[in-house]
Symmetry: C2
Subunit: 343 residues, 2 copies
DNA sequence: TTGTAGGCGTTATCAA
DNA sequence: TTGATAACGCCTACAA
């Protein structure tokens, strides 16, 4: 390995001058600077990261803790974090908790010793544990909010509103909600938003209950929705919605005609199924990028880096596809399907 | 920050003794060891990573460079890498190249200065560039092979064989292949395997051409397959297969009855569509784990860690679902569908 | 078994 | 503008 000392010697300058030249600090003659830079390149000099960290105290590294890397939702956040971190001269250390709240604490604590700051995505741990963990500062939350902790989340209430408005505009009165796990922070947020939309009259939402946030959970919810006479189902997330779609199909109910279905997240598979899923799209990668920015400027930052606000709520967007359609008229039996039945 | 020096002072021992006690090295009295460990815990001591790296030379870190974190295929590999790294006491720094071959070189070079070794997943760069890059050692390939470079890949030829055997057993004679990009190493591997299976007689495979490895590519391929009179289509990957499925459906052809479709990868969406996709499943997470092991034992390793073999080819498995079925008999028009048509 | 001291590669603080 | 030199926190011969 070629060290700075060797570069200095080869260039015929002192260690200090070499250091200054390469980290383009002031107080180096233009001639020396160029000469040092050239010899460094010739020798293939690469600064030793750990040594630099030891003296500067900066790791140029961002941590990322998330429940499941293989889940496209989190993976997309991770991509955003990684992209922004690199743009600002930082690396990303990623840790997967396997959806285990207990691991969150350990991973965060361990990583904090190795990074300048860290992004904690969709933590499952209860609020009090979260508060204790983030007391150190240097932690930004994504898809979760907690008092006093900087965070990036999504305007879920507005997403719920868009979805419900859409369904009501289509004439649906009996809208059911297929919820996620009770312990889920974001499920609570959806429910609060739904309650706020409830006008106490005919247009109330039917609570189908809490389901596992999976395809299977959706299958289960679909039967309940049918039994409850719902003409539209709003789902905790797309996986649940896809499960509902599959079950409706299996039971001979035409999704997007007899029953409308709306999901949340806009996962890739939403466009791959038939009918394509109407869903609330979340700016996942953007959230990851913003979280990195909330952590503060990286090593590459100019001097005028403004201090970021503590909380950001990103706008969401309802993407209307084929799984939602006008409510079937009450009086008539399902009309003969004018489309070509393809099976 | 609490340093080892402070722990030593608090425990009333020397720096060296404290160090030995905490890294459970020999030559420490049991009493001192326990005492030091306790005071360290009480003081909340966390070893300083950079300092340790500087003296030991080990970063306890693994690098991971891949084309696209948001792609479930790579994300699953990443999950495996992360899981195995942590089990062996290492962190993972992940870098996303945005599918850009030019970035691969830069990312790998940069990361190599910060990690003990790195996993390069599905590199797009040409073979010669790869050879130059990996000459340093410390790099393991995943889903790609190169002479002299340790790698973990999949037994794709066997997967192709399983798929073709399956289709032939179902009576399909006109099997088409919807290929991936010409520059793709794994596409070349599939083609080689297909050629080997060609008996020169009636059972030859129809080459549909090269398509973008996306849903859209599949849509395009489907029309060609139909025009060529194929009764079965083997696809470069699941995304392409899903596109074929969608297009067949749109054109009124019953996938899984009139035409059989087989994919590659077994992405999550494969089970979410109707008909569910028959596909060749790849042990992606396992590949990530094995790649880490090929990098050598981590800091947590026992003394008897054997040296790993340089190449591993992981077995793959055809997962038969509803998108493949017996070939329609030549003479008769498509029989009336005995199933309840649900649409 | 314990302690002292040197060094890992860099940056930063002083004098010169 | 330069150049010694002292940290940074830890590990590890080497000496006691």
């Amino acid at each position: 390995m070629v060290t700075l000392r060797e570069v200095a010697r080869a260039a015929g300058v002192s260690l200090a001058t070499a250091s200054r030249a390469l980290s383009d600090a002031p107080h180096v003659s233009a001639g020396n600077r160029e000469h040092v830079v050239r010899t460094a390149r010739e020798l293939g000099y690469r600064p030793h990261h750990a040594a630099r960290t030891l003296t500067t105290g900066s790791t140029a590294t961002v941590g990322l803790v998330l429940p499941d890397l293989a889940n496209p939702f989190f993976a997309t956040v991770a991509k955003g974090v990684q992209g922004r971190a690199r743009e600002t001269g930082r690396e990303v250390i990623v840790a997967d908790t396997d959806e285990d709240a207990a691991q969150e604490h350990e991973q965060v604590a361990r990583l904090l010793g190795r990074v300048d700051g860290l992004v904690l995505c969709s933590p499952r741990m209860p609020a009090d544990a979260l508060a204790a963990l983030t007391a150190t500062g240097r932690v930004v939350l994504v898809n979760r909010e907690a008092p006093g902790v900087p965070s990036v989340s999504f305007d879920v209430p507005d997403g719920v509103r868009q979805a419900v408005d859409h369904l009501r505009a289509l004439g649906h009165e009996a809208v059911a909600y297929a919820g996620g796990p009770r312990s889920s922070w974001s499920d609570a947020e959806r429910r609060t938003a739904l309650d706020a939309l409830d006008d106490g009259g005919a247009r109330r939402t039917i609570d189908l209950g809490a389901f596992r946030p999976t395809h299977g959970g959706g299958v289960q919810a679909a039967d309940l929705a049918l039994a409850a006479g719902a003409t539209a189902v709003l789902c905790f997330n797309d996986l649940v919605a896809l499960g509902v779609l599959a079950r409706l199909h299996a039971r001979g109910v035409r999704a997007g005609r007899d029953v409308s279905v709306v999901g949340f997240d806009d996962v890739p598979a939403a466009t791959l199924v038939t009918p394509a899923l109407t869903t609330v799209a979340l700016p996942l990668a953007r959230a990851g990028r913003d979280a990195v920015d909330l952590l503060g400027p990286g090593p590459d930052a100019g001097s005028d880096a403004g201090l970021a606000a503590a909380h950001r709520r990103l706008p969401v967007e309802l993407v209307v596809r084929a799984s939602t359609a006008p409510a079937p008229s009450r009086s008539t039996a399902p009309a003969a399907d004018p489309e070509v039945v393809i099976r």
